[in-house]
Structure formats: C-alpha cells, structure tokens
Symmetry: C2
Subunit: 344 residues, 2 copies
C-alpha cells in the first residue's frame, strides 16, 4: 500500500461522505429549519445565521476507517457509506452533549452550540442528531445490504452507543473524585473513545462481507488503536510541541485534566503525594517546571509511551489475525501507522 493509494481513497470518499451527511441533516420544513441549522453549524457547514460557510470540520477518522475496512474485505464502500455517515453523526452528537456537560465554550475555534443557542436547544439538537445517526444506519438496506446484515450492524452500533454513555458517565464521575486508578481510566476511555473506533472498523468489515471471526478481530484492532490514539493525545497534551499542537506546553497539567500521565503520577509510590499537593493547588504556569520534574522522576513519560506502544502492538496483532500476511500492504495499517506518528 502506498500513502498515495490511501490519499486517493480518502479524496474519493470524503466528499461522498459529506454529501450523505448533508442529505441526512437536510430539513424539509421551514418551521423547524433552526433545529437542523444548529446541527449544520456544529458540523461546520453553516454560520450562526445558518448561512453556508466552510469552517474546519473534524478529521472524519472514524467513517474513513469504516469505509477502508469495507474495501479491505473486498466490499464496495458505497454499501458501507450509510454506516460511515451514522458513525460520524453519532460522534458529533456526543460532542454537542459533551460540550454542554463539560461547559466547553469553544470547539474548533468557534463558540459551541449551547454557547450560542442555550443549553435547552443544544440538548435537543444533540438528540435530533442522535436520531439521525440511527436513521442513517437504516439506510443500509437502500444500498442493497440485507435486512439481517443491517440488523447485525445496528446491534453493534447500539451496543457502542451504550458504551459511549457509560464511558461519559465514568469520565464525569472521575471529575468528582481525587484519586482514580490507571485501570479505571483505561476502562473509561475504552467506553468513551475506543468502542466507537472499534465499531467503525467492525461495521465496515461486516458490510464488506467479512466472516464473524474477522469482524471480531477487526473490532479488537479498532479498539486497541482507539486506546493508542487517546493515550497519544494524552502524551501530546503534556509534552507536545506548542507550535505543532496549538496548545500551551503542559496544557493538560494546567487544565488539571485527569489524563493517563497525570493519573500515573498521582498514583506513584514515591512522588504521588508531592504531585497531588501541587495538582490540588491552583497550579500556575510558573509551577509547571516543578510538575514536569516530578513526572520525570516518576518515569511517567516512559510509562505512558509504553502503554501506547502496547495498545498499538495489540492492535497490529489483531489486524494480522484478520488479514494474515496482507497486513503490511493494507490501508488500515497505513492509516494507523501514519496517525500514530503524528505530532499534533
């Protein structure tokens, strides 16, 4: 697989994905245009007055994994397109609600939906987009997918939605607690992040005609690389180059985010107490070198990088299981490898 082949795949399918998503969000009735307008704003297609605008959207990583997995199994990605659409709508529904729940006022350099239209309308716009995700899944039959296969995919999708809400429940609960273990954190990101990446690959594979064992291997692959991505985010959140990440150095420490490196340090035998004292106070940027020094003493960076590599390797093993010797030539391998070497 050449990176050119991957780029060409993305170049071909990204516009079709955007079209399918726009089609789902299209409102036929003027009276409720604002309801769908808020969703279009969140997606980056409309401005606050619901005029067309091109704003930065997400990377569309999950739907691309879905389409790639379908192609990898010898299927026509067009059959997986409704599922890819559903996955991206689900991801974005969860962002609309997460922004309310976390009180985040900006996303992708724009005010969040609740910040503009208030919490009540934003909750409801999220509910609408959640519904549209299920509606998109049901379009699979229009692309010639059998009713049985559609229900199998829907089942996987629904189980994933449940895991998302469980992960979000844990994440919010952790905010209320002083100490959270590394294992608890892994359980949380398994639900909040990894489950949907796993489902994206698994549903794509299912649409591509994969056997049950391959679907299961590819789901494991997706979950493991989902965990690896999240841990990589956690690493960049502390040691990323501010010029590349666009965030301040040690950003996650200053934001007091309970990420994996920070939980490692908080739970550390030797420096744990010291780090906790520092972390519990109103941490100012001048205290950052001290905090980073404690992480250094605890070997936190090595621990976190090893945890990321471990998930990456687990993922590749599951991918090898699914694809045999084809693994190095697969676009799934190429995409994963490229993303896990990113610096921002």
């Amino acid at each position: 697989m050449s990176s050119q082949e991957l780029s060409s795949f993305i170049g071909r399918w990204l516009p079709r994905l955007e079209d399918e998503m726009r089609d789902m969000l299209h409102s036929k009735e003027a009276a409720v245009a604002a309801h769908y307008g808020m969703m279009g704003y969140h997606m980056g297609w409309l401005d606050e007055q619901f005029n067309t605008q091109i704003s930065p959207s997400g990377k569309r990583l999950r739907p691309m994994l879905c389409l790639l997995a379908c192609a990898e199994m010898g299927g026509d990605p067009i059959q997986a397109l409704p599922a890819a659409t559903a996955i991206e709508l689900l991801h974005n529904f969860s962002l609309i609600h997460d922004d309310i729940e976390d009180g985040d006022e900006t996303r992708r350099h724009r005010p969040t939906v609740w910040k503009i239209w208030g919490v009540p309308q934003a909750i409801n716009a999220g509910d609408g987009m959640f519904t549209l995700a299920f509606a998109a899944m049901q379009r699979l039959v229009r692309r010639g997918v059998s009713a049985d296969h559609t229900l199998q995919a829907l089942n996987l999708f629904t189980q994933t939605c449940l895991k998302l809400t469980e992960g979000q429940h844990l994440d919010m609960s952790f905010e209320q607690r002083i100490i959270v273990s590394v294992d608890e954190y892994m359980r949380m990101i398994q639900g909040k992040t990894a489950a949907l990446v796993g489902a994206s690959v698994a549903i794509g594979a299912l649409m591509g005609g994969a056997a049950a064992s391959q679907v299961s291997d590819l789901q494991q692959f997706g979950e493991a690389i989902g965990l690896a991505f999240q841990i990589q985010d956690d690493i960049l959140g502390i040691w990323g180059n501010p010029e590349e990440t666009g965030k301040a150095a040690g950003n996650d420490i200053l934001r007091r985010k309970k990420s994996l490196p920070i939980l490692h340090a908080l739970n550390h035998d030797r420096v744990g107490e010291q780090f906790e004292t520092l972390f519990d106070s109103e941490l100012s940027p001048t205290q950052l070198p001290k905090a980073l020094d404690l992480l250094e003493q605890a070997g936190t960076r090595q621990f976190t990088e090893a945890a990321m590599r471990h998930q990456h390797e687990l993922g590749l093993a599951a991918l090898r299981q699914a694809l045999d010797e084809r693994v190095e030539n697969s676009m799934l391998f190429g995409l994963t490898d490229g993303l896990l070497n990113r610096r921002s």
Copy 2:
C-alpha cells in the same frame, strides 16, 4: 368489549411490560451502576440511594396502546412487547431531557433526575435511556418478528423520534415569542405528543400482522387521539376541578403556559389585546377571575372543547376505517373513550 375485558388485558400485560423494561435497564457492571440507577430512579423503581422503592410511575398509556393494537389485529402481544418497551423508554428519555430543558424540579412528586445528580449526568442518563429504547426495538427479532418487519417498525420508530425533537424545538421556540398562532401550536403538539401515540398504535398493529393501509389508518387514529388527549390536558389545566386534578384552579394561566385555550384568547379579535396585557404582567391569583372572564367572552372554552371533539371524531373515523363495524367492540375504542371522559 367490556371494560372488564380491558382491565383484564392491562392486568395481564402491565407486569410483563415492567419486567421487560427492568430487564433493559439492568446493569451488569458495578462501575456504571449509578448510570443505570438514575434511569431506574426516574422510572420510579429506585430511590435516590438506588434502593428498591415503589413510587408512582406513569400510566404506561403508549405501550398499552401498542399491545392492544397488536391484539386487535389478531397478533400475540408478546411479539409487540419489545416495541411497547421501546416506546415507554423513549417517552421517559424525553421526560428526563424535557425536565432539564424546562427547568422542572419535580415530577410525580419527586425531585427530577437533574435536580439530584446535576445537569451533565442527567443529560447522559437520558442519552443512555434513548439508546436502550433502540436496543429494545431490536429485540423484536428474538420474539420471532422477521428482520424485514423489525426494520419497518424501527423506521417508524426513528421517524417518530425525529418528530419528537422537532416538536420540542418548536415548544421551546414558542416560549421566546409573544404571539404563537393556533395552527403553529397544533403543529407543535403534533410532533411533541401526537406522533408517539400514533406510532405506538401503528407499530403494535404492524406486529399484529395488519396490512399497510390498516397500519396507516391506525397511525392516524393514534395521532388524532393524541391531539385530543393534549387538548383535554389543556382544558383541565384551566377549568379542571382542583380536587380532581391536584393542581390550582386556572393553573396554566398562572404558570403562563402557552396552551391552546390561552393562544385562542391571545389571538382573539376582540379580547386578545386585553388578555395579552393581563398575561404579560406578573399575573397574581387575584387577577384570575378577570382572566377567566375574558376567556368566557372570547368563547374559548367552547372553541377548545370543539377542537378536542373534532380530533376525537377524526380518530374514531380512522379507527372505523381500519376495523369496519368491529369498532365499538374494540378495546382501542374502549380505552380511548374512557380516557377522553377523564376529569384529572
């Protein structure tokens, strides 16, 4: 049909419905028990500490209509039970989110979910219950419903979810406006209330083996009686006997709720302006007689009762279309008739 037959049907199926709903909300994992506990609290099964408690639950009207429609078409209600469960879970998800959106602090004489666990966790518990509603629908295949029929039912269900969020969007938008027309109000309750009642009957009929035209007639029946129920609520909200409704006389006027009678008066040629002046001020109970007198002058009560009767008749005509001469013997007729003569 005797009212005894109806009571015996409800007595037989209500406990099975409750069991199926409990089974859906059952959590297997201690770490997320509180997530499902909040849902169980809302359903009236658990107290704030998640101990078993029997609190007043809703009337379960929608799932009962679903099971009755299935039986009416000659089907076994056991096949419609997952759909009835889904419908009641969907209704309750919408109540959890509505309570946040409206800032309501109590429901059925208990604090609302957001009031106890905060808005972020309550949004997420609602999302979880929304997901479980879709999961319940997918259980239809376990009861021997074909994949095609399951997808048809799911499609109806999903379209209804969309209408719910559209209706809720309109309801919240109306709060921000001074004048809302009677037609706009009807469009709003069509989405917020009637659509789900219509879908309950239609999905039950579909599971009972009804032909497409019967499903469509019964959906119309459900939507019309859903509108009639809502208008009846609006009538009781002003002219209901406080001893029977448990609410103050003229309650909806004092709460400044934009219900159908109030919109009729606000839009009235002759008394509209006077009523608006009164309504815009901080209305005290001493001004209630004046407000009621203006409604009297506008003929509001007659208008509203006629609107209710009109929907009731439309509903019965659609029911007759679906059932032919059997209509008066049907339990759907009996249940509807009983409910539209209620006084609280």
